[in-house]
């Protein structure tokens, strides 16, 4: 579904990605772990066209989309849920959802269906549908960010640290949502610092260090032998 081939990226002169390669298969949940500052978020941004890769390729659904514009990628079925959520604060919850829902290809009937589905998953959003996005709590904003991405009916979601700053109860909810999306056949590239959660939901895990992928293993293997993670993530 998604393949990154030797991706390099710079912020000015700072060489942040030193040749990142990874794959996400159709319907797979793939974890991307690593300490702060290794380039996990930058990798997602490079995929989404928000940071122009200085070298390397991004292939999505069989197409070379390296450096394609974000709105084009969204229309192709790639959704991005950023680390800081980036809810449209002045828009209502419903309007936030509509930024993804109101697409010419989608019939009004289908739109209503999608909306119902997301309200069923996230009842709190149904309750607050007319409230401005900025009035939601941190956890609710995270729900909204994910729901908003679901409105794009994506083939793959780039999820950047969804559990950051959330209470344990909300973390459990996030776990359930990831499982639900997985059941629906949506592929997910999950960047996280929460190792247990990632090992629980992912099929495979990549570990990054200083701008490259240093380790790659099935989640099952890492669950048995977590010591290797300590080397890259711990102290």
């Amino acid at each position: 579904m998604l393949a990154l081939e030797e991706l390099h990226a710079h912020y000015g002169k700072s060489h942040v990605l030193h040749g990142v390669s990874l794959r996400v298969g159709r319907g797979e949940v793939v974890g991307l772990l690593g300490r702060n500052g290794v380039g996990k978020s930058t990798t997602l941004k490079a995929v989404m066209g928000l940071v122009r890769p200085s070298a390397g390729r991004v292939v999505f659904d069989g197409r070379d989309v390296t450096g394609a514009s974000p709105h084009h990628l969204a229309r192709l079925g790639l959704a991005w849920v950023p680390e800081d959520r980036r809810i449209f604060r002045v828009l209502s919850v419903l309007e936030n959802l509509r930024t993804g829902l109101d697409r010419p290809a989608v019939s009004p009937a289908r739109r209503a269906e999608l909306l119902e589905k997301v309200y069923a998953c996230f009842p709190v959003l149904a309750e607050r549908r007319r409230q401005p996005g900025g009035t939601l709590s941190g956890g609710e904003q995270q729900m909204l960010a994910i729901a908003r991405a679901m409105m794009l009916e994506p083939k793959l979601i780039l999820l950047d640290e969804p559990t950051e700053g959330l209470m344990p109860r909300m973390v459990a909810q996030i776990r359930e949502i990831v499982r639900l999306l997985h059941r629906d056949g949506v592929a997910i590239l999950l960047v996280e610092q929460n190792v247990p959660l990632t090992l629980e939901v992912a099929d495979r895990v990549y570990v990054m260090e200083k701008g490259v992928v240093r380790h790659h293993a099935p989640a099952a293997e890492l669950r048995q032998a977590p010591a290797v993670l300590r080397q890259y993530l711990g102290v």
């Binding site: 928000l50 709105h71 990628l73 959704a79 980036r86 449209f88 828009l91 309007e95 509509r98 109101d102």
Partner: protein, 290 residues
Amino acid sequence: MVIPAEQILIQTVNGLVNGMILALVASGLTLIFGIMDVVNFTHGDLVMLGGFVGAVTVAATGSFWLALGSAAVTVGLFGAVLQVTTLRPLVGRDPLTTILATFGMSLVLQKYALWQWGPSARQIQEPLAGRFALFYLEYPWYRVFTAALSGAIILALWLFLKHGTYGIWIRAATQDRIMAAAMGIPVPAVHTAVFAIGAAMAAASGVLFGPLGGVTQTMGLDFTLRAFIVVVVGGMGNLAGSILASIFISLLEAYAAIFVSPAQAVIVSFVALILTLLFRPTGLFVPTPK
């Protein structure tokens, strides 16, 4: 010194009328600034172009409404072309480059108008003649009509922004253009559309202003200056703020015109601008930022 009550009254009404026309110009400008951070120095010249297109249409067809429509459409389309050719390539560069580009464009447009329509001012016939009794005064119907129509257009804009998919797109792209793009919203196209809308509104003001002051190549500068003052005083990118600020500034000038000539009255607007920048730089009509 005793100021007759009717003078204050007449200036209040004048201030409100001028305020509404200015609001029409300024709301386009603030919309453009809010969504794409472009300081558009050609905005007043779009007013001027609208005035000329309107004058020519009235001369040819005699219809004021047709003039209004054709000016809005022509200048709106022209605005779209302008944005795509000169501003879109400058996205992401130093803001000074867009200022220089729009400033240069302004000079080009003024000279073009001079070449196309000659140096003499054009007149547009008032579509609505006659006066009505305002207490013990006679006030022209046309001025009231202008204010009402400006208000209606602004209201239509507001409704458009609040409802419908495109309104959501514009508001989302204004708040966070990167996230909007990541949601599939074609942000470059939205920028062009907003520029076109702003241009169309400016053109409409030009036609509305025509019967009041005539249409000249250099009329744009006054509008640009005042519109910028309004945008700053009202809060950059704040639509409601620019409408309130337009009325506020115009009333200030109208009252000042009781004591000094109108050409000097504009000084109070600049004083308001300076005071705003010194003490409430986010805008007078914006809630205090936390």
